[in-house]
Symmetry: C2
Subunit: 290 residues, 2 copies
């Protein structure tokens, strides 16, 4: 799986690099590149590409979507690391963008990446129907905005040092992390013009994958080290972050994560071999946390 | 003209308010409303609506575009006011968003407004061709991103307390302010499916209007007061902002602004009476600064 992930990350990196070359010159481009290229597993792209296999979509047909999602993910990391947010100084083993370039530049480069994501989808070279493209833009906007990533980050910050119940933590994590994963599994189904039932099912697979990823990330914060995560560890407790581990402890949380994996396998069963690679991603995500 | 502007602002405010009602609930919505509704001249919407008159486009056909542009403008104001940017505590006569709701919430609400802008254009109820919509999304992304608003704000901050020449100041102002004005004049021409020559001409009218607006804003910073601007005045000098006034002085800058107005009138001449309202906007913008 790691080989598959690395290959996919390389394909997406090359595409993003080329896309930047088509852009007009701006002093923010090197900052945007710093935030998107050079490192990162690009796990969301791997999910898009492996979901595409289920629906017989070629990778070069869906590469714009991977790039757009990575731009949005990178923007959210740049902003999350800011002093007034999570105040993290290390990301992907390098100084966070605001440490390297300053706070205002980091915010502006983040904003520019968010903006660029929509341009990449609207681009004429992204070879899917115009109606499909607009649907993708609408869904991606929803997943990134106030009921998605931005809304989830708001809750995450507001839940710090508070006693938060299970339902609220799950809601927060579904928005902060899950929504973009949802989009990654939904988008190929939209492009393949699958019916609404299938689209809903794939959204649910994505939501579970996102939850799994967030829990694995929280577990990794406890068991991992700076070398394999590329960022400081044991910071959730220090910051008083509301995680399932805080609520349930390590073992019970791990059990909850395993349930997510079972759910994913169950939902993908009907696709047979075609879904193998996507199921392997869920293994990879979970195994990271051991 | 003021009546026309006020009427337009009201129409756009009502639409945005209704659009928010169609959105899922999120704690960020009241913050987004605070940044977009309640005040502001919505001069960009007036430009879109008055440019639409030239191309016989009805206001209810183009209202989504006004709302999208206002979301982007409001987001840029919320972020510009942040402590690490222009550090302004007053906006439209009220506390800036970060003063009222805190810094992280202001950033997230800004991001959500930027995201929402693309959703509003992609919305099915926005009744224009899908190809036209995608073209609008691509252009708006360019005008808002690293070669537009975000890039211009980067330059503005980096030019503080430095000796900057005429060419660079103009380039900065064309990005920071001009690009979105360009879009406001270009978009109706795109919707009316005018040829590229006309589109380019309208972009140029928008660019001149944007420059005029920025210069008027700079002049107002010297001659205005907190009551009529809704924000503190005489702050450009304090912050060492690079403006044309700093370079040329008040009188010569005013002359330069009048030249912009002549240019706009000249370019719109061929549209006769149909362009009257748009020309009146340039009068209004300039007169604000006296």
């Amino acid at each position: 799986m790691l080989k598959n992930i690395k290959q996919n990350a390389k394909i997406v990196d090359i595409f993003i690099k080329k896309y930047f070359n088509t852009q007009k010159y701006s002093e923010l481009v090197p900052v945007m590149k710093y935030g998107t290229l050079f490192g990162g597993k690009k796990i969301r792209s791997t999910i898009i590409l492996n979901t595409s296999k289920i629906f017989n979509i070629r990778s070069n047909q869906i590469i714009n979507l991977c790039a757009a999602v990575e731009c949005i993910h990178s923007y959210s990391l740049i902003h999350d690391d800011l002093p007034c947010m999570d105040n993290d100084t290390l990301r992907r083993g390098k100084p966070s963008t605001h440490i390297k370039f300053g706070e205002s530049t980091a915010i502006l480069a983040g904003n520019s990446l968010l903006t660029l994501a929509f341009e990449i989808i609207a681009d004429k070279k992204f070879n899917v129907d115009t109606t499909v493209k607009l649907n993708l833009i609408k869904k991606l906007s929803e997943c990134a905005g106030h009921v998605g990533i931005a809304g989830g980050q708001f809750l995450d910050l507001n839940y710090e040092k508070k006693k938060i119940n299970f339902k609220k933590i799950i809601n927060m994590q579904r928005k902060k992390t899950g929504k973009l994963f949802e989009f990654c599994c939904l988008a190929p189904a939209i492009i393949a013009k699958k019916n609404l039932k299938t689209q809903k099912e794939m959204s649910m697979v994505g939501a579970e994958l996102g939850l799994l990823f967030q829990i694995a990330d929280d577990l990794l914060d406890i068991k991992g080290n700076k070398k394999n995560t590329g960022k400081p560890v044991k910071k959730d407790k220090k910051k008083g972050k509301s995680t399932l581990i805080k609520l349930f402890g390590y073992e019970k949380t791990l059990g909850f994560a395993l349930d997510r994996k079972k759910m994913i396998i169950n939902k993908l069963k009907k696709y047979g071999k075609k879904s193998n690679k996507l199921i392997e991603v869920s293994d990879f995500i979970l195994n990271r946390s051991f």
